[in-house]
């Protein structure tokens, strides 16, 4: 049994940090390829869950500068999960912070470390900070642990917790999430905007209150729409970057050149413009949203799995049912395939 507690709503900076911590799991964690769901404001600010919902990567974010005692305080929600009935499911406990007082650290240069990088006299303060916090929280008290057991648990817990110091810009976080050709990177301000879009989606997940609900198994989280699929985030960013690249109105996607060569000069421009216009229409159509995503996913996956194929071969591999759902013709579909293929050229 797992009782949901300590969910929260927060300000813009903390929201930013929760999204940063999500990107930490998505981009940089050793197990990032195994993380399938991001559960928001549930077990913790953000928790990665694997495809079969057996394993949970737990992350707590703090957009603050922390000292030893505060560091201990911040660990409370991670610790809560450590002592919960689901503790065997949690494979990783991460505290993601803006910065840690360098006075308490042994090596000040590393950004990802365990408790062993904290000076031993400071570790005491960390423990005390966590102990004080644990003794004041009802959701820990409910377990009825004796002082001695609690201290032992804290000692064990600190051995496995990881500290990560935030060091990337928002635009780097977005770029690192996906594999595209650097030539299609848009401006930093646009990358920041994409970050914001993801942050807003994440924040909107917090609107549903789940405080006090009781779960029997980890996968019960699926009953609540408080998760985002890792694949969806990657798809969103890729699609945004490719569509932004499309807006270079005069650019001819290199892989599409063979289809233009056949035409005479004056016609070429009109032909390209027609293709582009169809796609413009598609991405303006707010009433055809899910079809677009199905189509985009199909094209993207097909291109990704067949990087050496030419446009015709890729077209033949597409799912006909899916491209029938979007307002494109064979030329504009091929144009779009070329756009995606070139965008992923690397």
């Amino acid at each position: 049994m797992y009782k949901i507690s300590a969910t929260e709503r927060n300000n813009e900076k903390s929201a930013d940090f929760e999204t940063r911590s999500l990107f930490h799991l998505l981009n940089y964690h050793a197990d990032s390829s195994e993380i399938h769901f991001f559960v928001v404001d549930f077990f913790n600010d953000v928790s990665g869950v694997d495809r079969y919902s057996n394993r949970i990567w737990d992350i707590q974010s703090k957009g603050k500068f922390v000292t030893a005692t505060l560091l201990g305080n911040c660990l409370i929600t991670l610790f809560k999960n450590y002592v919960s009935d689901f503790s065997s499911n949690f494979v990783s406990y991460i505290l993601y912070v803006e910065s840690i007082s360098s006075r308490i650290l042994i090596d000040k240069t590393i950004l990802n470390f365990g408790i062993e990088n904290v000076k031993s006299k400071e570790i005491k303060k960390v423990k005390q900070g966590l102990l004080d916090e644990a003794q004041s929280r009802t959701y820990i008290k409910e377990y009825g642990l004796s002082q001695e057991v609690l201290e032992n648990k804290i000692n064990e817990f600190l051995e496995i917790v990881t500290f990560v110091i935030d060091s990337k810009s928002k635009s780097e976080l977005i770029k690192d999430a996906i594999t595209v050709d650097s030539s299609i990177y848009p401006s930093d301000s646009y990358l920041n905007n994409i970050f914001k879009q993801i942050r807003d989606i994440q924040a909107s997940k917090k609107l549903t209150s789940t405080e006090g609900e009781i779960l029997v198994s980890v996968y019960d989280f699926l009953k609540y729409s408080k998760y985002i699929n890792a694949g969806q985030i990657i798809l969103l960013i890729t699609s945004r970057l490719i569509n932004m690249d499309l807006t270079n109105d005069n650019k001819v996607p290199l892989s599409f050149v063979p289809y233009v060569r056949l035409k005479d000069e004056k016609e070429a421009k009109d032909f390209l413009e027609e293709c582009r216009n169809d796609i413009y229409r598609m991405i303006f159509d707010k009433n055809n949203v899910s079809n677009y995503w199905m189509f985009f996913e199909n094209v993207w996956k097909t291109v990704k799995d067949n990087l050496t194929c030419d446009i015709d071969a890729l077209f033949n591999k597409l799912n006909m049912k899916v491209y029938n759902l979007v307002p494109l013709d064979i030329n504009s579909i091929k144009f779009f395939i070329a756009l995606v293929k070139d965008g992923m050229r690397k």
């Binding site: 969806q232 932004m244 807006t247 109105d249 413009e273 598609m282 707010k286 009433n287």
Partner: protein, 536 residues
Amino acid sequence: MKILNVWFGNRDEAFHESRFSDGINLIYSQGLNNRGKTVMIQSLLFALGSKPKFPYGFDTEKNNYYIVEIEENNKRFIICRKRDTFIVRDSLGNINLLQSESEFKRYYNESIQKLPQINKDGRLSTVYLSLYNQMFFLGQDGKDTSTLYNLSYYNKSDFINMFYSIMGYSNIITSDEITIIKHEIDVINEKIETLRYRNKVLNNKNLAASLVSYSANKIEIDSKLKKLERVKEILSSYKKERNRLLSRKTKNEILLDELNGLNRTVSEGSLYCMECGSKHIGFQSSKEDITFDVSDSDIQMQILNNVRNRIETVGEEIIKIDHEIDEQRAILTELLKDKHVTMENLILSKKDILEAKPNDIEIQELNTQLTNLKSKLENSKVTEENQQKNRDIAMKDLIKLMNKIFHEINYDGNPKDVELFTSRGEVVSGSESAAFYLARFYAFQKVTNHNNPIIIDDFREKELSSTKEKMAINMYSELSNQIIWSCTLKDEEIHKYDNFEHVNQVDYTGFPDSHLLNKKDVIDLANVLNSLSIKL
């Protein structure tokens, strides 16, 4: 901006020039002319968007590719031009297709370097490269110091306005422009007059009366008609192009409306809770339920801008074609002034020569234009005096420096000061005009601080003495701009540049007479075209 490479030619023969250096490049041939210096320089400028002026008989079929590789702001671009189509490869390897000079100038402005804007045809528009390049380029036969080189669309005051714009004082209407507007009003009035006359003639039922005069002068009229026919052909090809552009414009205008329409979510009522009236209603789907928007406002804005841009570009193209059409019409009018070729005769011999139908709509259109111009004239009378002062000061500085340099180089000549353009009819000798341009280009660079290469074909105008030449080279070697000058050396001048520091000598003496293109360079051409995804 630096020129790195120039290629031109076709699948049979080509030429590749790669000998440019960053500093002063002197392209010369020893004793002999017709070694291809002009062809190379014209090719280079043609690729950069200038109006071409190739030696007679060169590339008459217009089948050559003209390619230049430039470096601007540490980024390399390869620009390829064939007729009016440009293909540009940017530093990231992206290929951009630009179908007209208008599209090219927009791309250039956005991606290569900022272009100045001037008031032209009643609106503020980015200058075409054909004008922009004039500030640093002069062709071989362009030593007339009273006009611009090889341009018809632009005039002197456009060049002066471009200078003001570069200095940051654009966007006001000067007295020159008022004169232009007045002139345009006159032209339109005249056109209306002509059209009214034509309508009158065409409505005249007694055409038969003219038959007599037609038969009497048949031979003369027919030869005239042949000329007319040619003008008509040109006119009709322009008109065809104009129609194509118009339809492209309309298509994009429709697209714009359509996109704005699509962007509205269908909103037919909304859900609310029957019990409490709240609109905050959750819907729990069994599937993963996030759907992101297809695009965001940044992308949509960009797309709408693109479509608006296309409409504007095409609009500009249409204005340019209208200008060409006007020119051809002027030729037509001239031909029609012949007393034997009366309107009636023409109609008799060739009814469709002027698509001769009474045309009231055109008169209406002209009247609208007239009203617009008149109101513009009214507005323009309210000018900002400060801006005008700034312009005057900038121009004074430019002229002052130009004269200083001019007299330094032309030390033994007339001590009279010169203007940015000399007045028409003023006789300027060869060496004086060479000194004039050397002074003007130098002063223009110093005052505007532009970084473009300074390119002069036949910079000595065959008469500039070695002393003056040396003075000019020393002066220009202080500029950080790339210099590309050409000249023909007399036999006794052999090795004359060997003692010059900083001078990169590019020798054209060994090339065959009037045939620079060769088989060997076709491979180079094919390679560079390949990098632009063009198969030779």
